[in-house]
Every structure is written in C-alpha cells, then in structure tokens.
Amino acid sequence: MLIRRILIVAALVAGTCSAASKLNVVTSTEDLSAIGREIGGDHITIESIAKGYQDPHFVEPKPSFLLKLQKADLLAVVGLQLEIGWLPPLITQSGNSKIQVGAKGYFDVSNACEILEIPTATVTRADGDVHPLGNPHFWLDPENGRRIARAFKDKLSEMQPADAAFFDHNLKDFEQRLTDAEKRWDAQMAPYKGHKVVTYHRSLPNFAKRFGLDVVDYVEPKPGIPPTPSHTLEVINKMKQENIKLILVEPYFDMRTPNSIAQQAGGTAIVLLPSVGGEKQVQTYFQLFDYDINLLATAFGKYK
C-alpha cells in the first residue's frame, strides 16, 4: 500500500517536473509561434502576443501581455523595428531577466533571414514610416520560413539540450513538408509569374519575389501614410495603363479606397493574409500560403 502511494506521488511529481521543464516560449507574432510550434511540438508551450489579423506595427502594449512575458523562457521577435512601437516597454516592465535584449532568451529571428529593401541611401521620415533596417515582413517567403525553423531548432536545442534530437527530427519533417508544399505552390503560381499587382502597404516584397509577382505601386503613397486623392488617382491611371487587375490588401486596412480604385480601374481588391491567424482557418504556416496562393490563383484566373 505504502509503495503504491509513493509510486503515485512520484508519478505526480514527475508529471509536474515534466510540465515545469517545458520551455515557455512567447512570440511577437503568430507566424513565429506557428513555425516555433512545428519545431518545439509538445515539448514547449508557445503563444503569440499579436493576433494575425491585427497590424503588427500598432499593437497596444497591454499589461495582460506582461503576464505572458513574465513567465517566458524565450521571447522570439520579428525584429527590424517591426515591434518598436510596443514591445520594448513590455520587455522592460516584465521584470524577466531571461528575455531582456541581449539575454539568452531574446531571440531575433531576422538575423537568420534574407532581408529585402535594406536602405542604401539616407533615410528620412519624408519617406514615410520606413524601416531603416530593412523590410520586416520577411516571413512571407517560404525559404525564410525554413531559415526561421532552423534558427528555432538551434535556439530550442541550446535552451533545452535534452530535446535536441526531438527538435532536429521535427525540423527535418517540417523541411520535407515545406519542400513538398513549395512544389505545389510554385505550380499554382507559375502561370502568373511576372503579373503586376498593387499592394496597400509594403508587406509583400518577399512573397512577390519568391512567387514572381511584380508589385508596381502601393495604395499608401508612402509607408504608413494614408491614401491621398492625388495618389489614388495616380494608382488608378497606372492600373489602367498597365492593365493591372489586382490590389492586395492586408486584413487590417479599410477596403473603401482599394475597392474604389479597383472599381475604377476595372480590377479587384482582395484581402491577402500577411500572417497566420489572419482568418480562423489559417492556423499553420502551410495554411497561410495555401490560403493566399489559392486566393491569388482564383483572382488571377478571373482575368485570364
């Protein structure tokens, strides 16, 4: 009887220790948590601060996020100043030494990725709300997704070496599935290579480069600057002149101006998701590309 009780207690303690030993990962965006979850599996807990359907530039640094950060072992951020407007005060106020900038638990994934639009000339605010370190929407290239996954594998293995083999196995599995998915996505997008599009914000350079789209203009006259009548007219004229049919809009922007432009230019404005979680059915990194590419293929198909 006594032995049985001891065994039960031991099992409970072991269970508690196992739960407690899970690495607690917090990410700034849902894209990072989606990729991190692929690698960490059930050996980590992972959650995101920003939702996939909100503008990641303008997240409110709510105290409820501090409760997450306070317990985090690892904080993964997009970097390149995407979160500059809200994350720094949260990190400082969290009182968590593990995730302070420069600590082992502060993980800037941009360091592992190919970054586009790195300014080569002097940047001023006359250019709008530019990111002086390069475009931070880099996760929209599957190749960068692969790099992020590898970086996660390295970071998680560093922080939880006992599970390194598990993380490595998950990475290999993720890469294999990504390679297979890329073939599918490439085949779907192949007919539309070189097609010109307009986007609302500069969120899609990596996506456009990877799948051969040509982004010729933006609804915003400059990054972060709302559309103006004169610029709207320019976009309409350009779309007419160059026979551009699609405007790609992020889910957090108002559709009135894009719809109006599209209507006058004889095209369509569609909501392309820049992030996992942008819609309920898009919960993984693969579903993000499946959703966007299906949407694009259907939209381009209309104008064949």
Binding site: D55, E60, Q93, G95, Q100, E114, E143, Y252
Partner: protein, 413 residues
C-alpha cells in the same frame, strides 16, 4: 565574385555527389551554399564605400575557405563601416509642443503664442543589467530635467527598480508627458492638487512588482520614496522630510478589444505651507479602452476619470476648515473617440475644489478635436470653458502643434 562563388558551389556539390551523399543532404548543402552566397552578396553591398580593388582582392582569399570548409560560417569581408561606431549612441528624439491661446482668462492668463515645451529624450540600454532614460525639457524660461533615471528591469523576485528624477506613479495623468495627453492642457484637479504641468516629480527611488493574481487579472504594486520637493505639493523643510508614493494598479481584458484599468494611489510629504505639517493625497484613476483589433488603426475609444482628495494639515489652520474637517476633492472625466485613421474627437469635464480651501471650487469643460498628419505630428484644437471660484468665467480656444523627430521610445500602456 559572384561567378567565383557559383563555381565553387558547383565544385562543392559535385564533390559531395562523388562522395555518394544522398539527395536530401545534397539539397541541404545547396541551400546552405545559397545562403552563404546571399550573405556574401550582402557583405559586398555593404562594402560599397570601399575601393573596388580591395573587395576584388578579398574575394579570391575567401574562396579557398568556402571550398575547403563548406560547413563553416560565411566569410566576413572587412570590418564594420565607420557609421557602426555610432551604434552605441542613445536613441535621440526632440518633441516640440507649440500652443496658441485665444480668448480671455483673468485668473490664469496664457501667452497668445508660445513654444510651450521642447523635450529632448535620450534613451538607451546601459549595460546587461539596466537602461537609462533622460527627458530634458526646454521651455521659454529655462531648462529643466523633466525625468532622468536608471532602471533595473529584472532584479531578483521579479522586482523592477528605478533611481533618479521621475514623475511619481500617482494616478494616471501625473505619469504622462505633455505630448501623450489627449488635451492641450491638464485637468483643473491636477492644477489645484498635484502641481499642474510639472506634477509630482522628484528625485528618488521606485520599486515595483507584478503581483500574483487570479483569472488573468494584472496587479502591480509600486512604492516610491522621494526627496520631498515637488512644486506646490510637497516641500522638504528638513532633509528627513521625504515624501512617499504608493500605487496599486489592476488591469483586466474584458475581451480582445476592451479593457479596464483601475488604480489607487497615495502620496504623503511635508506641506508646502508650514514646516512640521504634512500633506496627504489620495487618488483613484479609472480607464476604459476599446480598440477593435481588426480596425485598430481606424477606431478606438478611451474613457478616463480621476478622483483626487487632498488632506493638507495646513488647511486645519483655518478655523472653518478645522471645524468641518472637509477634505478638498476634485475630479475629471473625459472621453476620446477616434472616428477615422487621423481624426480624434473628445471632451472633458472638470470639477475641483481648491487645495487649501474646500469651500471654493473651479469647474469647466473642454471639447477637443485632434488631427494626426502622421505618427510624428499632431494638430489639436480645444475649446475650454472655465468657471473659477472667484466668480470669473473664461472661454478660450487653444490650438496646439505637436511634432517629433528622431527615435522616441514607446510609452508604457
């Protein structure tokens, strides 16, 4: 250089194939090589300022390393450029606050046009343990260190320590700099009880900690000790006349778009009127915010209220106050609605007794319209009606231009 690298990559891959590696490994190496080539291309791009021969000379030197040790890190060509020496400069920003006032106010007259404040902010991570923030305020009549403090964000026990000169954690409005207020002025209750624009702002130490709480409730306690000098609020007649401030904050998300923030504050310090007497202030602040996440850049609402009681022992020196023990009280209630990406409209109601005479009170109201040309500038118009205890009434139009240059760190929520 690119041609060399492609050639080397091909040689490596051929060599690898010859060794009989499987396809997956080959693919992996190809990607590694591709990454390396891109990294080297980025290096070359960053070396634009260097003479061409130097870069050209570096390429062959790097080549054998890539060929002989394909699994090592990419070769770095040259060091960082001169600009890299500036990376340790703090984030610097300057914020201008220009205010114009039209109308008559015989009790508290304001200049018709005034460069009300120019705030310079210098902020940086100090070392692996601390960060430092300085906010220097240049007014038309001089320079003042508005805040300058060192923060240790992660002490043992999840404590956070701040040392220096700072705005006290008394209520909500007292902690806010002018440029983040939703009005061009501060509410009457702050002017009557907590030192107006300067607020309770002193040199001291602040210790805060997030407290354990059930059900997603955020609780934070802050304790502060100051020298005891704060204009029109406390005066340190003696070195041991320290002032203290305590603040308890409770916050909860109602849903993803709406949240409630409640605070209770207490401050105690030596009275400004007579040595040996003390002034105690009590504050309740409440904020309700609504911001739909999918349209957060277009619509939002913030409702604020703050109630303050001021028990200054000096008031007991007046026979009437002593007889009634009436504690001076004041409050404001405000609401601001963002109705378009760049536009905000709001209103504020003020009511406040005088700090040293609870039998006199001022009241008023404001209507505010704010336009944001961009994230870095604001234009605001405010109609302000004030009825003073003296029986005088003021109707004023205020307009304000706020503008910011440089890298100004985000403000706490």
């Amino acid at each position: 250089m690119r041609r060399h690298l492609h050639l080397l990559a091909a040689v490596c891959l051929m060599g690898g194939a010859a060794r009989g590696q499987d396809n997956a490994a080959l693919l992996d190496r190809l990607r590694t090589m591709e990454d390396r080539i891109k990294a080297l291309e980025a290096e070359v791009a960053s070396l634009k300022g260097k003479p061409a021969p130097e870069a050209a000379a570096a390429a062959p030197a790097a080549a054998p390393q890539v060929a002989s040790a394909p699994s090592t890190a990419a070769v770095n060509l040259g060091g960082a450029q001169g600009a890299a020496a500036k990376v340790f400069n703090p984030d610097m920003a300057a914020i201008g606050d220009f205010i114009g006032v039209g109308g008559k106010n015989k009790v508290q007259p304001s200049p018709a046009l005034e460069m009300h404040e120019s705030e310079v902010a210098l902020q940086a991570i100090l070392d692996p343990y601390a960060r430092a923030d300085f906010f220097i305020s240049f007014g038309e009549h001089g320079v003042d260190l508005e805040e300058g403090y060192l923060t240790f964000p992660s002490l043992p026990g999840h404590l956070s320590l701040r040392a220096g000169k700072m705005r006290a954690a008394f209520g909500k409005v007292n902690t806010l700099h002018n440029h983040v207020l939703p009005w061009a002025d501060r509410p009457l209750v702050m002017q009557n009880f907590t030192g107006g624009e300067d607020g309770i702002n002193d040199a001291g130490l602040s210790l805060s900690r997030i407290l354990p709480a059930p059900g997603g409730l955020f609780l934070e306690a802050t304790g502060q000790v100051f020298r005891g000098d704060s204009d029109n609020v406390f005066h340190s007649w003696h070195p041991n006349n320290l002032s203290t401030v305590g603040h308890l904050r409770g916050y909860r998300d109602i849903n993803e778009s709406t949240n409630v923030d409640l605070g209770f504050s207490y401050a105690r310090g030596a009275s400004t009127q007579t040595a040996g007497l003390f002034n105690q202030l009590y504050d309740i602040d409440a904020t309700v915010r609504w911001k739909p996440l999918r349209r957060s850049i277009y619509h939002s609402f913030t409702g604020r209220a703050e109630l303050v009681w001021d028990r200054d022992q000096a008031t007991l020196l007046t026979p009437v106050a002593a007889a009634t023990s009436k504690v001076p009280f004041g409050y404001f209630v405000s609401g601001d609605y963002q109705f378009a990406r760049r536009w905000f409209a709001g209103g504020r109601l003020d009511w406040s007794e005088r700090a040293l005479n609870a039998f006199q009170h001022d009241d008023g109201g404001s209507a505010v319209l704010t336009y944001w040309p961009s994230e870095f500038s604001q234009v605001r118009g405010q109609y302000r009606h004030t009825k003073y205890a003296e029986g005088l009434t003021a109707n004023e139009i205020l307009f304000q231009f706020l503008f910011s240059i440089g890298a100004h760190g985000a403000h706490p929520f």
